[in-house]
């Protein structure tokens, strides 16, 4: 449904996106995960036809986002990170104006609006001014707006940023029902691990480069076994000693030494034994997407 081929974008000297390629299948929920400044927003702007890439190309439903942007715009619904609602208008007025921009009117538009408001639980707020709505509700209005023209693809930029956990769960429920109920393909950008974990497949972006691709489970499986996190006064020293003694490559980050290793519980016993009094605290967990990101880039997402 979405094909990204060798996409590169530069802002002057700064490379924001470097030779990125991936494919999103029909009906997938696909995530672009990475820290702010990783290239997600640039990719989002290109796919939503707002910006022309420096090199490479992208196709949505078979249409080139640059040469055939009008066709792409008819197939794609866009949910912006920053709001694209008119706060001085009501929910209904915002939806109606959006419908008009897509050439919808009359009975057809009214039906679409009813359906969109109903499925996003906005029917009783239809006459409220957008400025009086909570962040979670506004985001739902954004989605309702993006769905009016029945797009095959929904692009969402940091859709859950700024929402409280309840609104976030609510949002992901709506996203899931769009996919299963309407077969909409969804591409979302996020730096929230929990949200990324719910995607079918993910691409990890770091400094404009694609560092990994796969399902959340596949990505986690790249790190065999466990992650052990050690706190100590001199992290660099401990890391080099561990490397010498155990033949593993620890990562030092945020004042911690992280070791990816099979049978972490045994390693903990050995490492504490080996360096008595040096280690201040020890943690053990199964790999998360954050660990995958750290493993691939040495940097952190959040």
């Amino acid at each position: 449904m979405i094909q990204v081929q060798n996409l590169t974008h530069r802002y002057g000297d700064r490379t924001a996106l470097s030779n990125v390629s991936f494919e999103v299948r029909t009906g997938e929920i696909f995530g672009l995960l990475g820290p702010n400044g990783g290239g997600k927003s640039t990719l989002f702007r290109i796919l939503s036809t707002m910006m022309v890439p420096t090199a490479g190309r992208a196709l949505i439903a078979g249409h080139d986002v640059v040469r055939d942007s009008a066709a792409v715009r008819r197939q794609v619904g866009v949910v912006f990170q920053t709001q694209s609602l008119d706060k001085a208008l009501t929910v209904e007025e915002n939806l109606r104006a959006q419908g008009h921009l897509h050439g919808l009117r009359g009975v057809v538009l009214n039906e679409r609006m009813e359906r969109a408001m109903e499925r996003l639980g906005l029917a009783d707020r239809r006459r409220d001014l957008v400025e009086t709505l909570s962040g979670g509700l506004r985001r739902r209005v954004e989605i309702a707006k993006a769905l009016l023209h029945k797009p095959q693809v929904l692009l969402m930029d940091e859709a859950s940023t700024g929402l409280d956990p309840a609104a976030r769960r609510d949002l992901s429920r709506h996203i899931e029902s769009l996919r299963s109920g309407d077969g909409v393909t969804i591409l979302l950008t996020t730096h929230i691990l929990e949200e990324a974990g719910r995607c079918d497949r993910l691409v990890l972006l770091h400094q404009g480069n694609m560092v990994a691709e796969g399902t959340p489970a596949e990505l986690r499986a790249r790190i065999g076994g466990d992650v052990v996190v050690l706190q100590t006064a001199d992290t660099a020293l401990l890391a080099s000693k561990i490397e010498q003694r155990f033949g593993v490559r620890p990562v030092v980050r945020d004042g911690e030494v992280r070791v990816e290793i099979a049978n972490g519980h045994r390693f903990i016993a050995e490492v504490v034994e080996a360096f008595p009094g040096v280690i201040e605290s020890v943690g053990l967990h199964k790999p998360t997407l954050e660990d995958v990101f750290v493993d691939q880039t040495g940097a952190s997402i959040e």
Binding site: T54, D86, A97
Partner: protein, 246 residues
């Protein structure tokens, strides 16, 4: 084609609804030129002389106020969804400019209600050319605002242009002193300043004596200036971005 007008009409309507919901804006836009006019007019004992200038200032403030919102609106606002909709950019430009021009026009008409203070009495039939002239000036100044705002990254840049370009442009347009008494290079600037012709057009339709340049000339220059700005707005808005304006 019908989609073109549907999109333009919905934007036009949006401008009006927004305006209606923030009625205090009218006060802000009309009040300062009114106070300015009354002070300078009573002070110099010549309200009539500064009337057209003050009316054009009202229209200019309104046009600036409406178009400055484009800068924020395209970063986080309704303009964003317009940019990714299949509606042609030209319909967006038309809707926005006509909407903002209508608001400027309405505020110009409110200012027109104070014409009797300047000793001008307008008969009902004479109202038509006056209202038409005010609309044309509103359209032109809105186009000017659009062209300035479209490329702007921040509203502070617009304020700088307003102070360095728009307000001086207004000062040497015949609003404060007529072209006939101006000297040297100021006179030359007045002659090339499109706003001079807007003020003159208004002076003609209000039947003020000694309005210069001539009526036809003023009408043509104002209309052509407006058309050029409108086309320029359309061309600028249709260009594809390679940087992040949003």
């Amino acid at each position: 084609m019908s989609n073109f007008f549907l999109a333009a009409a919905t934007l036009w309507q949006r401008e009006l609804v927004r305006f209606w919901r923030q009625k205090s804006r009218v006060l802000g836009v009309v009040a300062s030129p009114l106070v300015f006019w009354l002070l300078i007019g009573y002070g110099s004992n010549d309200l009539a002389r500064f009337y057209s200038g003050a009316l054009v200032l009202t229209v200019m403030f309104s046009a600036i106020f409406s178009t400055i919102s484009i800068i924020e609106d395209r970063r986080e606002g309704f303009l964003l969804s317009m940019l990714v909709s299949p509606a042609p950019r030209s319909s967006m430009v038309l809707g926005k400019i006509l909407g903002a021009a209508t608001l400027a026009w309405v505020q110009g008409l409110i200012f027109l209600a104070f014409a009797p203070l300047a000793g001008v009495s307008i008969h009902l039939l004479e109202l038509i050319p006056v209202a038409a002239a005010i609309f044309l000036i509103s359209f032109t100044l809105t186009g000017l605002g659009f062209v300035i705002a479209w490329r702007m990254e921040s509203t502070s840049g617009f304020h700088a242009i307003m102070n360095l370009l728009l307000v001086p442009m207004w000062m040497v347009s015949g609003s404060l002193f007529p072209m006939s008494t101006a000297h040297g290079w100021v006179k030359a600037i007045m002659w090339v300043n499109p706003l001079t012709y807007s003020i003159a057009l208004l002076n003609h339709t209000l039947r003020f004596p000694n309005a210069a340049p001539g009526e036809m000339e003023s009408l043509v220059v104002t209309a052509v200036f407006g058309l050029v700005l409108f086309l320029a707005s359309g061309i600028m808005a249709a260009q594809k971005a390679t940087h992040s304006a949003a």
